[in-house]
């Protein structure tokens, strides 16, 4: 990659006070290299500790292809679909993978090896990330080295990241937005403060203050919690920058945080992106924060945003709705559904149909106004409603249901009163999202067209309690 491992400055500090310089991080990379088959496939189980951080950097640096996963599950289905050569897992999970042998351990993580599968890996392929809220499907987004480099550079440029920065992890490393914070800051020689504590824990804020965090990122729900925590009254003298992505922030919250940051001489930066574009596609320059409330901003440096109408023609008139298309080096290669797809080349050619409907104002600042595809953002995670519906129908073939709702509130419409709780629980488990986001509503029958297609537009209007 492009990291500079010659620096003596700190690359990372974790909440157990373990710290590593860039030089030491480079040495860790070499250690992994000496123990692993080159250009192999690795699954990294992320828990936001120094161990998964080092593993991530080393595998990327050493030319292994890695999938980043959470460490809450064993991911049996993914492992059986992809047959990774290595697993980098928390020590206490190690005995669960009995067809792998141990080759290395560090910081309570263990490197497990099984070289029986020789993968054909496309030469540009660097990283596999689950699409957020993937509803347990084995689908990965395929990211290239160029994708990661170009997006990190672009982010570093528009955020003016320097080596003095100390971002604190508020998001999982395996979540594209969380990862982009790490990548862009490592590029600039900053120091990452690594913790898996959350903003509702005292330990998080103690760690924040002990090492002088300068920035963090949050999804809309993070900002709702911060407001409730009376964030505006907290004394955080080192904090300089707040970023927001993972869904559209309520305009009122956007305004409140923008005003707070203006009056305290901080930057609040609204951003827009998708895992399919590595991470970021657009940002709202902070000086426009108060004059462009609700806007997702402009394309990131090196990228281009275009709106097209139903005939696929570019739109040039302000306040005309069209589908948002993005062009840039950070547009990922495509998806993988199984190991055979890892040999696939670039299927997108630098163009991404975002699935979002948008318009721009007279200054060409973009505003999301709707969605072309049926998905919701739940706590920053994209949940595809059709996919989630299929998962429910597979598990509960005799139960009639239809999914709708709004961001942070997915509604399960159901005709069988007995089944509601089961469906809700199953969906919460499959998506790994808190069950508070799933609401069950009973209706007499699911509205359908003559052809038998569910009329989702009618579901929205149905008044049920």
């Amino acid at each position: 990659m492009v990291w500079n491992f010659k620096q003596d400055s700190l690359a990372a500090i974790d909440d157990n006070d373990i710290s590593l310089t860039y030089k030491q991080l480079g040495q860790e990379c070499d250690t992994f290299k000496s123990k692993m088959a080159p250009r192999s496939l690795v699954f990294t189980f992320c828990s936001n500790t120094i161990a998964d951080f080092i593993g991530y950097v080393a595998f990327l640096q050493n030319g292994c292809v890695q999938a980043l996963l959470n460490s809450l599950e064993e991911h049996e289905e993914l492992i059986s679909k992809y047959n990774p050569n290595y697993l980098w897992v928390p020590m206490d999970m190690a005995q669960k993978f009995n067809n792998y042998k141990m080759v290395y351990e560090k910081y309570n993580y263990i490197l497990l090896e099984n070289l029986s599968m020789k993968h054909k890996l496309y030469e540009e392929l660097a990283l596999l990330l689950t699409t957020s809220g993937s509803t347990g499907s084995p689908k990965f987004v395929r990211q290239s080295y160029k994708n990661i480099r170009s997006n990190a550079k672009s982010i570093a440029k528009y955020l003016n990241i320097t080596s003095d920065e100390r971002p604190i992890t508020t998001l999982p490393i395996n979540y594209t937005y969380g990862l982009s914070i790490i990548n862009s800051h490592l590029l600039c020689g900053s120091t990452i403060l690594i913790t898996n504590k959350t903003i509702v824990q005292k330990e998080f804020w103690n760690f924040f203050n002990k090492y002088g965090a300068t920035s963090f990122g949050g999804v809309p729900y993070t900002y709702e919690i911060l407001k409730r925590l009376k964030f505006f009254d907290m004394s955080l003298p080192t904090l300089k920058t707040l970023t927001q992505a993972g869904g559209k922030l309520l305009p009122s919250l956007h305004a409140e945080f923008a005003e707070y940051c203006q009056s305290t001489n901080r930057d609040f930066i609204i951003m827009y992106g998708q895992c399919e574009a590595t991470a970021r596609m657009a940002y709202l320059p902070p000086e426009q924060n108060l004059s462009k409330i609700g806007s997702m901003g402009i394309a990131i440096p090196g990228g281009k945003l275009v709106l097209v109408d139903v005939n696929n023609q570019p739109i040039s008139t302000p306040f005309t709705t069209g589908e948002l298309i993005y062009y840039g080096d950070n547009v990922t290669l495509g998806y993988a559904q199984s190991y055979a797809d890892l040999s696939k080349m670039d299927e997108r050619g630098g163009m991404l149909e975002t699935g979002d409907m948008a318009e721009f104002d007279e200054d060409r600042y973009f505003y999301i106004v709707g969605r072309k595809k049926r998905f919701l953002k739940i706590y920053g995670n994209r949940v595809n409603l059709d996919e989630a519906e299929r998962i429910l129908k597979n598990k509960f073939p005799d139960t009639e249901c239809a999914l709708s709702g709004k961001d942070d509130e997915l509604v399960i419409f159901i005709t069988d009163k007995q089944k509601g709780a089961q469906l809700r629980k199953y969906l919460s488990e499959k998506t790994g999202l808190n069950h508070r986001a799933f609401v069950v509503k009973y209706i007499e029958s699911i509205p359908k067209s003559d052809a038998g297609k569910i009329l989702y537009s009618k579901l929205v209007d149905i008044n049920v309690d």
Binding site: T198, V200, Q201, K202, F204, L229, N434, R436
Partner: protein, 79 residues
């Protein structure tokens, strides 16, 4: 319903866990008690006991027992 029962019921309802599991529960012991679950618990407790927790109390509230302690020590709720 007495306060102990009300308090217990909030945990059972919000986190959807069995009563016998609640008593020794800590933050993040169950997937439902994440930051989303935490803020829901706080909101329910505030409305049930007619209190308003401050930042320090919300981030200090890391277990079933700790919450009880905060309510009884700082707000005179008797259990």
């Amino acid at each position: 319903m007495d306060n102990a029962k009300k308090y217990l019921k909030i945990f059972v309802d919000v986190l959807e866990v069995a009563e016998d599991k609640v008593l020794n529960l800590n933050y993040r012991d169950v997937p439902a008690w994440d930051s989303v679950g935490h803020m829901t618990l706080i909101a329910e407790i505030e409305s049930e006991f007619d209190v308003m927790l401050d930042t320090e109390e919300i981030i200090d509230f890391n277990s079933f027992e700790k919450g009880k302690e905060i309510l009884s020590n700082n707000y005179g709720v008797e259990f």
